[in-house]
């Protein structure tokens, strides 16, 4: 009797194993800053990942070279610590043996895990990273879909200001790597263009009050104000610039305006503000852009971040399209990602080395509460409008 039972159990187990094998999911691993310094920034990326996973699974699964398989995430918290991300990606590749990788949040984390994917020859499409130093990373196993790279941004921002007849500018910058890197390229570009820098100030990330700095800008009365700011000081800037009455027809605020709460908090005050971003749901030529925006809003009740959410979703789309052709073989996958052109919510994307070679460096402007591409004109979804004085 015992033997019979054991036999039955073995047979059932075998049958289950076969059944499971047929429907075995594709396991995709990544780490995100769920706690710590960057925890507030990471949800926009995770939301995009989860939206993509749910959409693909609802459509029957991920096309792995012709075979449909469900997607399963293997996610860890890297506590906003790049060295923790390194340990996690090592574990994902060697212990968890995931089939595919998605990127962690932010430039330092991308740099940190670039070495790991290189070591294991495991191709990964990055997303929320932007630095000129990205180009120094060995090409082969990591790619960056962003076109908001500081040196290109500086050149394009100055070109855009020139097209608006800007002759003087006030420049303030948060002392964080990304904003300082942009500033490093922006100052010489402004000087070369003959635009006078009337105010050139920096402030620490924990700034609590900008009244003194903004009073100085009001006195200088420049044509343009460029605030190289991060979300929390962007809020401070917007509030206090209105309060102090700092007005300029050209108004650039770096990171923050495209985060959902910003539009809710500032409403019509946000109109006219120019910000970083190369994606907009109002670009009708990009057939996938609007459906992504609508699906995101429906699922989360907030708008996607125009940079991080869009880039995260793009990296998923690129991976999805590459896997459909190449399957899960690393060598084949690397080849396809490096050579093919991908249809994304941001239009066609093709890589050269580690960089996106097709998407132009662009800027968004808020108009009637909508974030429109206004620069360069070749991709613009609306013409640029000079910013009016702050509403009272």
């Amino acid at each position: 009797m015992k033997r019979l039972l054991a036999g039955l159990v073995a047979i059932t187990g075998f049958a289950l194993a076969i059944g499971a094998q047929a429907a075995e999911p594709v396991r995709i691993g990544f780490s995100l800053a769920q706690t710590g310094l960057f925890a507030a920034a990471a949800p926009s990326q995770l939301n995009a990942y989860e939206l993509w996973r749910d959409q693909v699974n609802a459509a029957g699964g991920l096309d792995v070279a012709g075979e449909l398989r469900m997607i399963e995430f293997v996610m860890y918290d890297d506590r906003s610590d790049p060295s923790e991300a390194v340990r996690i990606y090592e574990k994902l590749i060697t212990e968890d043996q995931v089939d595919l990788l998605l990127a962690p949040w932010g430039t330092p984390h991308h740099f940190a895990v670039a070495g790991v994917v290189e070591k294991h020859g495991f191709p990964m499409v990055g997303n929320s990273a932007a630095s000129v130093q990205l180009r120094d990373i060995n090409p082969g196993n990591i790619w960056f879909p962003t076109s908001a790279i500081p040196d290109l941004m500086a050149v394009e921002l100055v070109a855009m200001m020139q097209s608006q007849g800007v002759t003087s500018v006030a420049l303030i910058a948060n002392q964080l790597p990304f904003s300082l890197e942009i500033k490093q390229f922006l100052v010489p570009a402004l000087e070369a263009a003959g635009i006078a820098i009337l105010v050139n100030d920096e402030y620490p990330p924990d700034v609590q009050d900008m009244t003194a700095m903004l009073s100085g800008i009001r006195t200088a009365a420049p044509d343009a104000i460029v605030a190289l700011s991060y979300p929390s000081d962007s809020v401070l800037y917007m509030n206090q610039a209105r309060e102090v009455g700092v007005n300029a027809p050209f108004h650039f605020v770096l990171v923050g305006p495209t985060i959902d709460f910003f539009a809710g908090m500032f409403g019509p005050s946000l109109d006219g503000v120019v910000t970083i971003g190369h994606w907009s749901p109002y670009k009708t030529e990009w057939a996938r852009a609007r459906p992504f925006f609508d699906a995101y809003v429906e699922k989360y009740g907030t708008t996607p971040d125009y940079l991080d959410s869009a880039l995260a979703y793009m990296s998923c789309e690129i991976l999805q399209q590459a896997v459909a052709v190449a399957g899960l073989d690393h060598d084949r996958l690397r080849e396809v990602i490096a050579l093919d052109t991908f249809d994304t919510i941001n239009g066609p994307v093709k890589f050269e080395g580690v960089s996106n070679a097709t998407t132009p460096t662009s800027f968004l402007q808020f108009q009637g509460g909508e974030a429109h591409l206004v620069w360069p004109e070749s991709v613009a979804t609306a013409p640029y409008q000079p910013k009016e004085a702050w509403p009272q």
Binding site: A40, Y203, A212, S232, F261, M265
Partner: protein, 296 residues
């Protein structure tokens, strides 16, 4: 450089100072009466801000209307923590001796737990309130209505607390406990009741500060820590346990920050604040207004 005589700078200094003073007042009450180092103070500011956010978002209750309820809510949370974590420790004389360092660890743990519970419940996505965002202009001076309201409420509550401690019997008993714990027990004051009251008041004030800052900036589960740090700087400057001293130090810090930055650069904010902080600790280790009777 900004005009130092501008009313705009004065307004900014007062708003910053009033918020610093209010945040520090709650921390100081809890430290003064029980020698508890509440590292989780900023987390109660965060909870107050979230309470204001949800009241506004879910029930259309404006933050200014919700404030009294937020104060009650955080005060109740304070009481629960007092009963759950500290009453026993304070009663046991052996444990009470080590209460300062033990409370630091307990509150540190509590702060991590609260941050992560808030992140799990509300997600880490930053949020903000569109409320009182018109600007009042008088001549050259522009005042955002929410900042003006913050100044008025923070200043009046701080003043009310000072008056309460000076003229109300319970307030006087709190002061007595801060000044001399043993003598307070000898003259028959109900120490347990005073501790309870101070705890509730201290946490309620943190919630109040949270309700106010919810109108000014972004709300996230991790927003509390800078408030804890600033509050500690303020109460150490003013003299640990010296409530009036803390309020004056908060105001001075606001003035120092605003005018110091106007004279130099926003770059020097931290150097200015911590430079003056260290300088004062070297010259007057008991704090600007701390007397010998407090520093024990």
């Amino acid at each position: 450089m900004a005009d130092l005589l501008s009313t705009q700078l004065l307004f900014a200094a007062l708003v910053t100072g009033a918020l610093y003073g209010l945040t520090a007042l709650g921390l100081n009450l809890v430290y003064g009466t029980m020698r508890l180092l509440n590292i989780a103070h900023g987390e109660f500011v965060m909870l107050g801000a979230f309470a204001a956010f949800w009241a506004f978002t879910l029930a259309d209750i404006p933050p200014l209307v919700a404030l009294p309820f937020i104060v009650l809510l955080t005060a109740a949370a304070g009481l629960a923590i007092y009963r759950g974590l500290f009453r026993g420790l304070l009663r046991n004389p052996r444990l009470a001796e080590r209460i300062e360092s033990n409370s630091l660890l307990l509150f540190f743990g509590l702060s991590i737990v609260l941050q992560n519970v808030a992140a799990a419940l509300f997600t880490a996505t930053p949020r903000a309130l569109p409320y009182l965002d018109s600007i009042i202009r008088i001549g050259d001076l522009g005042m955002a209505t929410d900042r003006l309201a913050t100044l008025i409420i923070a200043a009046s509550v701080a003043l009310a607390i000072v008056l309460f401690l000076r003229f109300n019997l319970l307030g006087l008993a709190i002061k007595a406990l801060i000044q001399n714990r043993e003598a307070t027990q000898i003259v028959g004051i109900d120490v347990e009741k005073i501790q309870r009251t101070s705890f509730a008041l201290g946490f309620g004030l943190a919630g109040l500060a949270g309700g106010l800052v919810s109108m000014l900036g972004q709300i996230t589960p991790f927003m509390g820590f800078p408030y804890t740090i600033t509050a500690f700087v303020v109460i150490i400057l003013g003299g640990l346990g010296n409530l009036g001293g803390g309020l004056i130090a908060g105001l001075l810090l606001g003035i120092l920050e605003t005018y110091g930055v106007a004279l130099t650069s926003t770059n020097y904010r931290s150097i200015l604040i911590y430079g003056v902080f260290i300088l004062i600790l070297v010259i007057r280790p008991q704090g600007l207004l701390g007397g010998r009777r407090i520093a024990r």
